[in-house]
């Protein structure tokens, strides 16, 4: 095996080892943190469904539907004003 390859193998072993070691520590730490957090603030304020990657109403872009809805409202208002 060329020295380059062996360097690569070493890097892989150390790398995957570190990744697993770090995430294992993180799992443990997260469990402890959650336990403490739930003792401090028992009642969850976010229902499970709410979990998602999409940002909240404030930050997300309006969908075409919503733009349509808003535009309609504005149009109605303008019509009303005339």
């Amino acid at each position: 095996m060329t020295p380059l390859m062996s360097a690569g193998v070493q890097l892989m072993l150390v790398g995957m080892g570190t990744v697993f070691f770090f995430l294992t520590v993180l799992v443990a730490a997260t469990r402890v943190m959650s336990a403490m957090a739930l003792r401090l603030a028992p009642v969850p304020d976010s229902p499970p469904e709410s979990a998602s990657v999409t940002p909240g109403p404030q930050s997300r872009h309006p969908t075409p539907d919503e733009i349509a809805a808003i535009s309609a409202a504005i149009a109605a208002h303008r019509a009303a004003r005339r």
Partner: protein, 378 residues
């Protein structure tokens, strides 16, 4: 009249090289994929257009004092743009599913095997004399397997700027191809019965947990692997701004105006690395090939890890969500959900898959830290 001759000699038609012509076509293909196929349009459109600008003969937009070169030096060489994007991604990420089921972090760890397998692959091709990648370059190529754009660009900018264009294009292209690459692998490695496994409803997660997690994550990475701290630090900062609830106006701007502005210039700057003389080389082909391998291996190892965990633990895990461990947020999670529904129409895996999905982002940032630590010194 010699002015006309001067005009002709300054024209693109006179100066264009075959390579530039090819790259203009490549840029066109990227625009086509972005617009017609909606493949990661935010990045492939900007990268593709930047690539076209970079290959206009004689315009010199991507060299010297040209706009794209200035943007590249200021934003990518410094690592500023990918870090800001990562902050924005953090501000759009919800760790809820991960906190509800921390075990899924292991899936995000396993999927990183794709990174290191690709590293070996790149070195193997070099040993065979097919390619000629240094350890640094091989490391940067491997990160494609992280299926995470900003991480790949950040690492490539640090370790192998000359390959940055090819690496970024490969990373975003394959992220867009996830719905095509992953399902066959997922089906091949799982039985109908396994794919139909229903998972237990996720517990609700409290606001306090969501606020503490990014801080915890940053402290751990700081204590164990500081070279990953810039990436994960900005990621955690964005996430904390989102979750803490007291700086909504900052979080709002981070998720919109700021990330959009940086995305535009990041894409153009990456595109500036698509200059024919840099991009058209055997190594680019090698990178595209190896990137594909990276995604496949990462997907497989995530699925296999999930199956292994099913052996060891009583609470069942649907192995499909292991595939989401490669990150490619949120595409990979959607794929897991879709394949799961095919096997069992009652089986909604999306939320369960979001855990390994964001875990994959952390995992590949850790892998990036390792690569930078052990190779940047060389």
């Amino acid at each position: 009249m010699e002015l006309i001759q001067q005009l002709w000699q300054a024209s693109g038609l006179y100066q264009i090289t075959l390579g530039q012509f090819v790259m203009l076509c490549v840029g066109g293909v990227l625009l086509y994929l972005a617009i017609a196929k909606k493949f990661e349009p935010l990045l492939l459109l900007t990268i593709g257009f930047g690539g076209i600008l970079a290959n206009i003969p004689g315009a010199e937009i991507a060299t010297g004092d040209g706009l794209l070169h200035l943007v590249y030096v200021v934003g990518i060489e410094t690592g500023v743009f990918p870090l800001i994007i990562f902050m924005g991604v953090g501000a759009m990420t919800d760790f809820g599913p991960l906190l509800a089921n921390p075990r899924t972090l292991f899936l995000g760890a396993a999927a990183q095997f794709g990174i290191f397998a690709t590293l070996l692959g790149a070195l193997g091709l070099t040993s065979l004399g097919v390619m000629d990648f240094s350890l640094k370059e091989a490391a940067a190529i491997g990160i494609i397997g992280g299926a995470d754009g900003p991480t790949a660009i950040y690492v490539a900018g640090q370790l192998a700027p000359n390959l940055l264009g090819a690496i970024a294009v490969a990373a975003y292209s394959y992220m867009a191809l996830v719905p095509i690459i992953q399902p066959p692998i997922m089906r091949a490695l799982t039985s109908e019965k396994e794919r139909a496994i229903q998972m237990v409803q996720l517990r609700p997660v409290s606001k306090l947990e969501k606020i503490l997690f990014p801080i915890l994550l940053l402290l751990l990475i700081g204590l164990l692997l500081p070279t990953a701290a810039p990436l994960l630090g900005m990621f955690c900062f964005g996430n904390l701004m989102k979750e803490c609830g007291v700086v909504d106006r900052l979080s709002d701007t981070t998720q919109n105006a700021l990330i959009n502005i940086v995305t535009i210039f990041l894409g153009l700057a990456v595109g500036s690395k698509l200059q024919a003389e840099v991009f058209l080389s055997a190594s680019t082909l090698g990178i595209l090939l190896l990137g594909m391998v990276a995604f496949a291996v990462g997907t497989a190892s995530g699925v296999l890890m999930a199956k292994a965990m099913n052996r060891l633990s009583s609470t069942p895990i649907n192995p499909l969500i292991g595939a989401a461990g490669v990150s490619a947020v949120p595409m990979a999670a959607r794929v897991a959900n879709k394949v799961g529904l095919e096997a069992n129409a009652q089986n909604f895996l999306l939320m369960h898959a979001m855990g390994p999905n964001v875990a994959g982002v952390i995992g590949s940032a850790v892998a990036a830290g390792i690569m930078i630590l052990f190779t940047s010194g060389l």
